[in-house]
Subunit: 342 residues, 4 copies
């Protein structure tokens, strides 16, 4: 089959022919209908420090996708051949304390599709049957393919109360834009999106932001306060991972508010804990992945009911073999989700 | 001033002139802009058993209203003359365990405007300054006047999770119709409304129900299950108070679901606790009044953001003196909220 | 091996030789160290209506036990031979909505050890590897054998807040007595135990009740109120399943309180929903089984830390072959937990 | 009356005669039975940077105390003369969003007894009637006097689940020692206390710590992990406010755990948000003051039930006039709570 392979411990990747993956006894083989490029894939492509420490070439990478089950292992019984599925990329052990107490998304022994094992930039992927989620066939493949980032947004947004509250989303990349749509769909009274790129802010606006704030042009903390009668946002969703963004995120949080952190800073961030968390009586949630499987049910419900429409996020589509064109667009910052068809 | 007075311990009431209420040191005097008729007012009018045990004529009744503050007591300082306000009708003691632990809505020593003290079917009402809630002036008076029942609906609906869930509302009177709108606004994946009157079901449809169920024509338990892949509703909001409605409400609840009870049965209801609560692992919430003041903030946020529009519920308006015409309409079941202008 | 077998669809059971169970690929074989008799076992023994509808003889019954793993199926890898384990008797499907959202204890497709498949009144039992919980070897077998009812009590008690609250336990059988101990261990300010049998009340006292109430001698609702400054219990744990007990349980609940229902009424119970749930703003939890696996971790923590001591509940021990003597004692009401050694 | 007065904007304070405070219409006059010295009082005494920015001499300071109500203002009706009371030192406005939604402890307009208005190092203090909490007369005055720090500990510890969990307390000053006792009382499976002073660790041991860790002698992160099977503490209570302590607190937190921050760092703290909060899926709570009044009810319940005994914390007592001797002891680190009797 055709696949995108990280062939060597260096920048770059190749489109080449590789064998179809073997299907273990409790695995299913998924024929990929649509895949999508994540920021993580760009790290692997560019062979950054994180990639150097984690990835073992050769590796078929990619982890955002949907497809159809075409084969099942001998012991796989829970999902039928022919099912249209999206896939939770986190393979969990099922036996650790976290898995056994409803927190599998922070399993102590996780392996990730397209990072620690072969991924979805290919015609076929094999995954454990327990990792697939059956999608409604009415959901378009390009939307079904981006359940991973959408799930991040759903998990982050719904990690606390939203109805009737003012929500600020710091960082308006694809996940931030999803979070804007989710916050609106679940009754936020006002949704403010912050970024430094006009392209992304325009997208946030299309996804439902009541107010977009370009933090290169105005102080986002002041702008959020001005937009909330001086109080700050009841809920802040930090999705930039940038130290300045994180600091601003805490400063724009209302007394008694909730801030959920999804963006991953690459260095330590100096926080004024006294003013920003303690005196405020704030609640901070660290967010990792998506809840298995509450988040997936919530995500599908928001899509099927029409309360969230992800299609504006799909800005470009390519055949799989042209993946490097899609990657180039993303690096230029002029794309949101780029979909690949094998 | 002109007021509607329960003059004697018998059915009926009179529109007559009475003195403007005295304003205590911590009270404010509200000039009524719009009032609305509640089912409770019909009980008082008809002098039913509950009214006989609770009401002490003569009494100006009515408790749903909005207006403008025109005078303040000597020690009242927290809200200015000229403010446009709605009023929480539950006067609480502020010192009991419930009040002191965030549950003032179930205060152990409550007195109710228009029930235990003079009400709003009048040109003026005096209430403690602590009982007013400043409304945005952009909210129309007929909407500001119905914050009490809207607040019941907001409290009931938001007493648990809703986002992404299937919600059944049993009883589609004005509060049920408000609940339909709230559930949609906060991200329910499907909202089903149940009643026995086509008029109310039509209103529920206009307020956003995805599915209306006439329980005189189809079994509502089966209908809800059919509408939810056989599972039942994740959330049931019981607003009928009818023993049959209550029993059906429990039967249509999904395993692991939440049912919130607002409707008040006038007799004991025999429940199959084993099947309906215990084996299901259900959660049941008793709902009384509105949270002071979380519910009010939520309610105003839903209105100001445009996520809920209550205007379709205002089916009739009358001058205050024609209150008995409005009551007659309500008894015929051909009205939702009837607004009175003093 | 020797086992206790329900041989025919009629009252009674026999101690006889049967084959050691076969071990499926993902099963483990447990050599039973100690087993315990549950009320459910008496229903099976007596062939009551429930048993007639559920049990298919011949069946080795019994489901409360601990033991040592002596064999593993070919695909069982998560728990080693030699481990000292207790067993969750609910076999769940792992794929339904409940299982996938952290509520496996209310799985839609449950099968129960000793009810729907061979049980523990035997020398050996085979169970899926996913159903065993490794016990600390310092826990005595007679205590490890009763994790099922202890888990019921832990789940019920910890289904809401307890610290600093007044707790009433209605029904002081073994589970009620466990709940008394748990409530004390987690900081209840006062624990009241109610029953109709002096034997059980004496046991509740030994397990830590501050006050025991014989409801044949005093009105338990009045007694609980008298013991709580007239307010009622903040938390009520209903473990009698008797309609009178259930009604009293609701009446003794404080305004704003939480009642958790574990006892299973065999008929409908007429409740005054208005006074007992709605006006009170009460929360009702239906409790089924034990949370997998949060409850198990909590239970083991309470035992290992010495905060709960279950040994006073073990009132009698017998060799397995004398099970009928143990059953007789239980029916006379002069025993709590009867332990059987194969 | 005799009082301790900050007379000038400089280090030091004087014991001198001042007028008995005036009693406003809704105030009560409390005759102080016992007062206690807080770290804040040492800041005022030493005139540190915080004090210079906040305190306006002359000021009678001190805010931890109990006493008897000896006089009421004309409009004060809710608590009788003769009542034995402790006092919540945070005077809140009662009208802001926080106050109106159950979060008065983070009121937007707070004034503090002994900081912003006359305090308790005196024979009499006047406070609003709404700020007193009636204590059971069986509670000794030296214990009733330290409800403020005890309340901090109760609020911090109970800001999340504790039963069955491993709890690490970072910083074993008086509040940390209270937290140790509370965690044990509400069912922690293991309580570890960390400090750099043997005196405090010895006290933590007496208050119930299972394990004390001198972080000058062993790495507290490794020690906590070693004590929890390598997992870290489920719950961390940060009460040191020291940047190193805070960093260690996050590092010793288990995946999925909860950390509550009470200690106030005087500078920004650089946190590894990715590892310490985000990937872990941690929850962080900022803790300010005590919940009005849930914390007070919980605190009194723990004392009255005998589940917590604070007497070991009262290491020294002095007449009020010898306050400077008590302060000296505290600065030497050889005292926990120093009680003053006017």
């Amino acid at each position: 089959m055709t696949a995108v392979v990280k062939t060597a411990p260096a920048p770059g990747s190749e489109v080449r022919e590789v064998p179809v993956p073997e299907v273990g006894p409790r695995d299913v083989l998924v024929k990929v209908k649509a895949a999508s490029i994540c920021g993580t894939d760009l790290h692997i492509q560019d062979w950054d420090k994180w990639a150097q420490g984690r990835i073992h070439p050769p590796l078929v990478f990619g982890h955002e996708f949907c497809g159809e089950i075409v084969e099942r292992g001998a012991a796989a019984t829970t999902v039928p051949v022919g099912a249209f599925v999206s896939v939770e990329g986190h393979l969990v052990d099922g036996t650790c304390y976290q898995c056994r107490t409803g927190n599998a998304h922070i399993c102590e022994n996780v392996a990730i599709v397209g990072v620690d094992r072969p991924g979805c930039f290919a015609e076929y992927v094999a995954v454990p049957e327990g990792n697939v989620y059956a999608m409604d066939k009415g959901i378009p493949p390009e939307v079904a393919a981006i359940q991973d980032p959408f799930g991040n947004a759903v998990h982050t947004t719904l990690s606390g109360e939203v109805a009737g509250l003012a929500v600020a989303v710091v960082g308006s990349g694809p996940i931030g834009c999803c979070a804007v749509a989710v916050a609106q769909a679940v009754g936020a009274r006002r949704v403010m999106a912050i970024d430094i790129r006009p392209y992304r802010l325009e997208l946030a606006r299309r996804m439902g932001a009541d107010r977009v704030i370009d933090s290169t042009k105005e102080d986002p903390v002041e702008a959020v306060k001005a937009d909330t009668d001086g109080e700050g946002a009841d809920v802040v969703l930090e999705m930039s991972g940038h130290p300045d963004g994180v600091k601003q995120a805490f400063k724009m949080l209302r007394r008694g508010g909730r801030i959920s952190l999804l963006g991953i800073p690459s260095q330590a961030v100096a926080l004024d804990l006294a003013e920003d968390i303690i005196f405020k009586g704030a609640t901070v949630h660290g967010i990792n992945g998506r809840r298995m499987w509450r988040t997936w049910y919530q995500a599908q419900a928001l899509l099927r009911s029409g309360k969230v429409d992800l299609r504006p996020l799909v800005t470009h589509t390519f055949p799989l073999a042209k993946i490097h064109e899609g990657m180039a667009l993303l690096k230029q910052g002029e794309a949101a989700k780029v979909i690949l068809y094998p």
